[in-house]
């Protein structure tokens, strides 16, 4: 059998299958392209969610799936939709989910911030327990650039390069109404701690300055960044505690640099998330009554009615970006063959909400730098 086929091949002057006119060269047939670039959101569950990353996946079709860096650099785009001091929304087109997720994880857990860590309580006669008060103080966002400070290790002394000191001293006098302690009652101490440490030796050293809990060698407000903008909590109206008549709180706090990995108080974003661009496609013409029904079904008004003249109407997709994937438009009989909901696999709509220490565009740039540093660390470890 094999001999006969070989004979026939030799007679016909062997040709390559790629020479046939209808074989697509370097391009996938439409159904495979759909599978590669879209997530299909069906009524019960999404399919084709895994991205096809393997470089040789479509080798038999003649398509090179490998990452050519120039191809990536050529196709990658960023479009900013909204940018304020507190949050931003932008589109990243041409990137894969693995890297977008890496950025999201770094934004939430590995960007450093300053937050209150040590609370030295001198007096607390309020009904809020010490530890609850300390916990609440830790969660207050402080508006200061964490890049100006260094990490404090266990062996370090708290000094002006790694600590920020605040003081809180409030009391509610007898006879006055209840008093609410807000975050603007936290006063910044640029010269360091004022609480005096009790020293063991009776014969204290010759210096007249008593030893405090921090050792600031110079005042922090001599630094140019802080001279004009004093360090303060981001929002002045965060309620810390409430005092009844005769109650008093006197404490001092130290804020240090840390990462969200250790405790969520050090996370610089309220949250950061992404979603893939939704794509809503009408598979067949939806006209007249069905069009009205489709338009009323969608809770975010993705569809619109277009007049065809002679009283006939047609449904069109007007705002696919607003689609929340509620699948209302494919619920019911036979709607699945009229409307297809998909997601574009390499188009990410990123939203970053900052707590205020750094503006969101700076946060994203720092997150990308941190991923580069991680790669660099792996390279040096391997060499």
């Amino acid at each position: 059998m094999a001999g006969k086929e070989e004979g026939r091949g030799e007679e016909k002057n062997k040709f390559s299958i790629w020479d046939l006119p209808d074989v697509p060269m370097g391009q996938l047939p439409p159904h495979l392209e759909l599978q590669r670039s879209r997530v299909l959101c069906n009524k019960d569950a999404p399919i084709h969610t895994e991205s096809v990353q393997y470089s040789g996946a479509y080798a038999s079709m003649g398509l090179d799936n490998s990452l050519r860096l120039d191809h990536f650099c050529h196709n990658f785009r960023v479009e900013v939709v909204r940018l304020t001091d507190e949050d931003m929304e932008f589109d990243m087109i041409g990137i894969d989910a693995a890297i977008a997720n890496a950025f999201r994880r770094i934004l939430i857990a590995e960007l450093p911030t300053m937050a209150i860590e040590k609370v030295l309580i001198a007096n607390n006669t309020s009904i809020i327990q010490d530890e609850v008060l300390a916990h609440r103080l830790g969660l207050i966002p402080i508006s200061v650039d964490p890049r100006l400070f260094e990490y404090m290790t266990e062996n370090d002394q708290p000094n002006e390069k790694n600590t920020i000191v605040f003081k809180l001293h409030v009391q509610c006098k007898r006879g006055s109404p209840r008093f609410t302690v807000k975050s603007d009652d936290l006063k910044w101490l640029p010269n360091g701690s004022e609480l005096v440490k009790e020293s063991r030796n009776a014969t204290s050293d010759s210096s007249s300055k008593p030893e405090t809990y921090t050792s600031f060698s110079c005042s922090q407000d001599t630094l140019s960044e802080f001279a004009k903008n004093p360090i303060a909590p981001r929002h002045p109206d965060i309620i810390i505690a409430k005092l009844g008549p005769g109650q008093e709180i006197e404490l001092e706090v130290h804020a240090v640099k840390g990462m969200g990995k250790t405790h969520a108080k050090w996370s610089p974003v309220a949250t950061a998330w992404y979603r893939m661009l939704p794509e809503v496609v009408l598979l067949e013409e939806v006209e007249d009554d069905l069009a009205e029904e489709l338009k009323s079904k969608c809770p975010v008004n993705v569809f619109d009615i277009e007049d065809l003249g002679k009283g006939r109407k047609r449904a069109t997709v007007a705002r696919p970006r607003a689609c929340t994937l509620c699948r209302e438009c494919i619920r019911g009989d036979e709607w699945e063959k009229r409307v297809a909901i998909r997601r574009v696999r390499d188009h990410f709509i990123f939203t970053i909400e900052s707590t205020g220490a750094l503006p969101p565009e700076v946060l994203f740039t720092e997150a990308v730098k941190i991923l580069e540093d991680k790669c660099e660390r792996v390279i040096t470890e391997l060499s």
Partner: protein, 114 residues
């Protein structure tokens, strides 16, 4: 730390400390895209330990070099992402400033009684 065979260096497992899904998944993506790689994957032996095992099997090239190249590619991608993003933010701010100026000048024109 590389765990592999002394005779055949085209397949190895790399154990990285202080890492998690953030870097490992991104590295796995860039490794997969390299045509020299036949197999790559990562696993986290225990979620309480910050340790990741990355397995690389290649078509003959030393696995260490292929992993280094993947890291370099990832770094280049990050640099490109950063520059594109910075440019997009600048353009957005510039276009917003222009819009604000246009609205401002429109208001002032209507106020001027010339």
């Amino acid at each position: 730390m590389e765990h592999g065979s002394f005779t055949d260096n085209s397949a190895a497992t790399f154990s990285l400390t202080e890492e998690d899904h953030t870097l490992a998944n991104a590295l796995r993506f860039t490794l997969n895209q390299d045509p020299r790689v036949t197999f790559c994957g990562y696993s986290i032996p225990h979620p309480s330990d910050a340790r990741v095992n990355i397995r690389v099997q290649t078509t003959g090239d030393p696995a260490r070099e292929v992993l280094k190249d993947a890291c370099q590619d990832l770094m280049l991608m990050c640099k490109h992402v950063r520059s594109t993003f910075d440019k997009a933010v600048e353009d957005f701010k510039a276009s917003n400033a222009v819009k604000a100026m246009n609205i401002g000048s429109q208001d002032s024109d209507s106020e001027d009684s010339e």
